[in-house]
Structures are given as structure tokens and as C-alpha cells.
């Protein structure tokens, strides 16, 4: 009763690697129990191995870290800085953030990125939707509704990251997508029968057609649980508030399913990625039917027609002819596989709604009077 010495540690409670310190965590990957020091070591080394096995970087590369201020990108910035110094990658690391213009969410998370900039001594570039597209996400949502917010935001962010990187003269953006995210995407594509995406969803390096900028995911094999633990134990400064707009509903469902599966079988995240990596689509068989023969006669006619994609964009050429690099969007001049890039198609739809509100020669003062006048002039 009087003995206040620290509790004696049972042998079974010791770290399974160093056998000296008390284990503090259990790895979901292999159920190994590790102490803090060994966990840091294993965590960082695995990411280093992922980077070297995939030959992600070359000495002298300038690499932008897509930084949101959230846990994944904060840990990514911290780990890449550590590894760059430890293994002499010779990388020049830059933080690249996108300001979608979401009050109460992105403004707070950008404050975190600005602190990271100082903590990690990295230059920071912020690209805003407002300056790039003249729309903030808040304005888009008030115009197009909350349900499609993720669609707009996703398309616009993809291009914003590319443009931000191009502005900095960088052709490689790393993102904090982790193993859980990847398994989630595999599940989603599987559940939707989206086989074309399924095959590509586990590649570590991706590149949009026509884009000179490649993206990679050094956390491809890193569990979310370990990222959160790493951030927690290292006391990293990260931001964790959910976006104020509706999350992509189907992804949420896939995430819950995955979390429930993980609770029963922690290795399933790795297993799903492994399955995804080894899925190869059988080449499409050409069916020579009467229909096909009839179509063949029509090909001359077809070549003059433009193909309209479901999302409203216009394909430059028929599907058989592969996309050539260097096409530019007719509206914004940015690289695009279509005549008009996806961002411009979406923005054009939005502009049509906005244009009606600011009617020409409206000299009325701002405010209620203007609104009434505007409403009077509206015609459907």
C-alpha cells in the first residue's frame, strides 16, 4: 500500500520489437504491439520503402505537398521532411493549399497550414477558387445547392492543384491519401460496377490525360489509425473539423462498411488494396455482329458528329482515336482532354444562373430595393 513505485510491466505488455519499453499501440496491419519509438521507426521506414520501391522521387525534384491542414497532409509534410533529411532524397518541398472559400471550415484549416509552414520551414502557396474561377464554394452552394457540392469541389480542386503546381514550376504533387481511402475507393468502384476506375484506383502515381503534373500517394499502404496515432504521439498541429457541406453520401457508406470490416479483420484494408492491384480487366472482345457491320457503314457519317459526354463536355474525337497530349480548353486555355474542360462546363452552368441576377443597366442601390427590381425583371 505504501509502495508508490510505477507499476511493474508484464512481459506480455512489452514492445515486440525492442522488448524493453512498454507497448503503446497495436498495429492493425499485423497485430504487432509496439512502443512509441519503435512505432515511429516502423511507420517512417515503411513509407520510405513505399517511396523507394515505387521510385517516386529523384534527387533535385521539386515536390508540392497538397496540404489541407488535416491529419493526413500534416503527417505527410512532417514525415516527408523527416525522410528527406534522413535519407538525403534531395527534394525541395513546398506546401500547396487550395482555398475553396468555405467560411468556418477552410479559413480555419488554412490557419493550421500557415502554422505548419513555420513549423516545417517550407514555402506555402495558396490558390483560391475565387481568384481562379471567380466563385467561392459558398457561392457555388448557394447557387447550385448542397447536394452537388462535392462534384463541383472535386473537379475544381483537381484543376486548382494542377494550376498551383504549374505556377510554382512543379510537376509532382503528393497527397495524403491513405490505405483506408484507397480501400474505400476500391470498394466504391466495386459496388458501383465502375470497372474502368476499379483497375486504376490502386496505382500509386496518377496523371490526368494531358496534364504535365503527376500525383502520388506515399501513404498508399499507411493505415489511418497509424496516421492519427503518429500525429497524436508527435503532438502534430492538425485541424479536424468536417467540411460544412454534405459529404459524398456513398463514400460515407463505404467508409462505415470498411470500418466495420476492419473491426473484425484489421488486415482487410491491405487485402482490399492487394485485390485491387491484381485486378486486371479482360480486354474487350470485339463482337462482329450485323449491328457492328451496319455501324461500320455509318462511320463516315459519325466522324463528322461530335460526341457529347454524359457530363455535358464535348469529346474532340471518336473514342477509338486516343487522346493526344497538348489539347487546350477553348474557354480557359488550360490543358484538357475535351474541347471544353470539365471545370469550365460546370462553371458555365453556374454562370447562367448568376447572370440573371445582375441584369444590365441596373442602377438601383444595392439591397432590398435592388432585389425587388431584379425579381421583377426575371423571366422564365
Amino acid at each position: 500500500m505504501t509502495d508508490e513505485k510505477p507499476k511493474r510491466i508484464k512481459v506480455t505488455a512489452l514492445c515486440e520489437l525492442c522488448h524493453a519499453r512498454k507497448a503503446v499501440m497495436k498495429r492493425p496491419k499485423n497485430l504487432q504491439k509496439l512502443c512509441k519509438e519503435c512505432f515511429y521507426n516502423v511507420f517512417e521506414t515503411e513509407i520510405h520503402n513505399t517511396i523507394t520501391n515505387a521510385k517516386l522521387f529523384q534527387s533535385g525534384d521539386k515536390v508540392a505537398i497538397g496540404a489541407s491542414g488535416g491529419k493526413d497532409s500534416t503527417v505527410l509534410a512532417s514525415v516527408l521532411k523527416t525522410l528527406n533529411e534522413r535519407y538525403n532524397y534531395g527534394l525541395e518541398l513546398v506546401l500547396l493549399s487550395i482555398d475553396e472559400g468555405i467560411v468556418g471550415y477552410r479559413d480555419d484549416s488554412l490557419a493550421t497550414v500557415k502554422r505548419n509552414q513555420i513549423q516545417y520551414k517550407m514555402p506555402l502557396e495558396i490558390i483560391s477558387y475565387k481568384q481562379l474561377y471567380d466563385w467561392t464554394m459558398d457561392e457555388i452552394v448557394s447557387c447550385a445547392g448542397i447536394r452537388s457540392s462535392c462534384t463541383y469541389c472535386g473537379v475544381l480542386r483537381r484543376q486548382a492543384l494542377d494550376r498551383g503546381a504549374a505556377k510554382l514550376g512543379i510537376n509532382h504533387v503528393v497527397t495524403g491519401h491513405n490505405a483506408d481511402d484507397m480501400a474505400e475507393t476500391v470498394l466504391m468502384n466495386l459496388l458501383r460496377g465502375d470497372v474502368a476506375r476499379l483497375e486504376k484506383s490502386t496505382t500509386i502515381v496518377t496523371q490526368s490525360s494531358g496534364s504535365p503534373i503527376k500525383r502520388s500517394k506515399p501513404f498508399k499502404y499507411t493505415y489511418q489509425k497509424e496516421i492519427v496515432l503518429y500525429a497524436h504521439y508527435k503532438k502534430l498541429d492538425y485541424f479536424s473539423t468536417e467540411c460544412t457541406y454534405a459529404p459524398e453520401a456513398f463514400r460515407g457508406t463505404a467508409r462505415e462498411l470498411l470500418k466495420s470490416l476492419e473491426a473484425v479483420r484489421p488486415s482487410c484494408i491491405m487485402d482490399i488494396i492487394y485485390s485491387g492491384e491484381h485486378l486486371v480487366l479482360a480486354p474487350k472482345k470485339k463482337k462482329v455482329t450485323t449491328q457492328y457491320k451496319n455501324k461500320k457503314k455509318l462511320t463516315e457519317q459519325q466522324q463528322e458528329e461530335m460526341e457529347i459526354n454524359p457530363d455535358g463536355s464535348v469529346s474532340l474525337k471518336s473514342k477509338k482515336q486516343e487522346f493526344k497530349d497538348g489539347n487546350r480548353c477553348e474557354k480557359c486555355g488550360y490543358l484538357s482532354s475535351n474541347k471544353i474542360c470539365k471545370a469550365c462546363v460546370l462553371l458555365a452552368g453556374l454562370e447562367m444562373n448568376r447572370a440573371k441576377v445582375t441584369i444590365d443597366n441596373n442602377t438601383a442601390v444595392d439591397g432590398a430595393a435592388k432585389l425587388t427590381k431584379t425579381l421583377e425583371q426575371l423571366s422564365f
Binding site: 499501440m25 497495436k26 489511418q224 492519427v228 496515432l229 479536424s240 468536417e242 473491426a263
Partner: protein, 101 residues
């Protein structure tokens, strides 16, 4: 008799407790010992502000998958999970891993 412990909600999980991250709790103990199960029950009854948010924290009578639980900074999977016996001065950290990164 009561057991005094600290409960923390991190990683955005503080939305279930009116954005209060740290809670000092006194868990009533009549006899025997209190376990993690009692703490979870205490949290659902006394800390979660809106009963609608209980499913954010609980699923199938235990902490929802995707919420990381640390007992004195150690993964609760190493501490017997729901069967862990509470001691005065313990710190329980619940971190959501489900929030965007």
C-alpha cells in the same frame, strides 16, 4: 465512492459534447470495480449533449469503429478494451479517425 477520471474528445469528436474537448468525470462506484463499459455508459448518459449524437459514438454497445480509444495514451486494444478496470486519475482519449484529412 467515486472514481475521478479525465475524458478527452479529439479529432473533431468534440461535436458530440458541445465542442468541449476535456471533461473531468466522477464515475459513481457502489461496490466492486468499474470497467470501461461503465465509462462508456457514463459518457453516453452524461457527456453527449444531444441524444441524437449517441450513434456517432456508440455502435452495437461499444465504441464505434473508426474512433480510436487511448487509455493513458495507450491503445485500448492492449488494455483489455471494454473490460479495462478504471482507476482514479486515468485519462481516456477518444479520437475520431473518420474526419477528412
Amino acid at each position: 465512492m467515486v472514481i475521478k477520471v479525465k475524458v478527452e474528445f479529439l479529432g473533431g469528436l468534440d461535436i458530440i459534447s458541445s465542442s468541449v474537448r476535456e471533461h473531468k468525470c466522477s464515475i459513481p462506484l457502489e461496490e466492486g470495480e468499474a470497467t470501461m463499459k461503465d465509462l462508456i455508459e457514463y459518457v453516453t448518459k452524461n457527456i453527449i449533449t444531444d441524444a441524437k449524437d449517441i450513434p456517432v459514438f456508440i455502435e452495437d454497445d461499444t465504441v464505434r469503429p473508426g474512433i480510436l480509444v487511448l487509455i493513458n495514451d495507450t491503445d485500448w486494444e492492449l488494455e483489455g478494451m471494454e473490460d479495462y478496470v478504471l482507476e482514479s486519475g486515468d485519462v481516456f482519449t477518444f479520437t475520431s479517425t473518420l474526419h477528412g484529412g
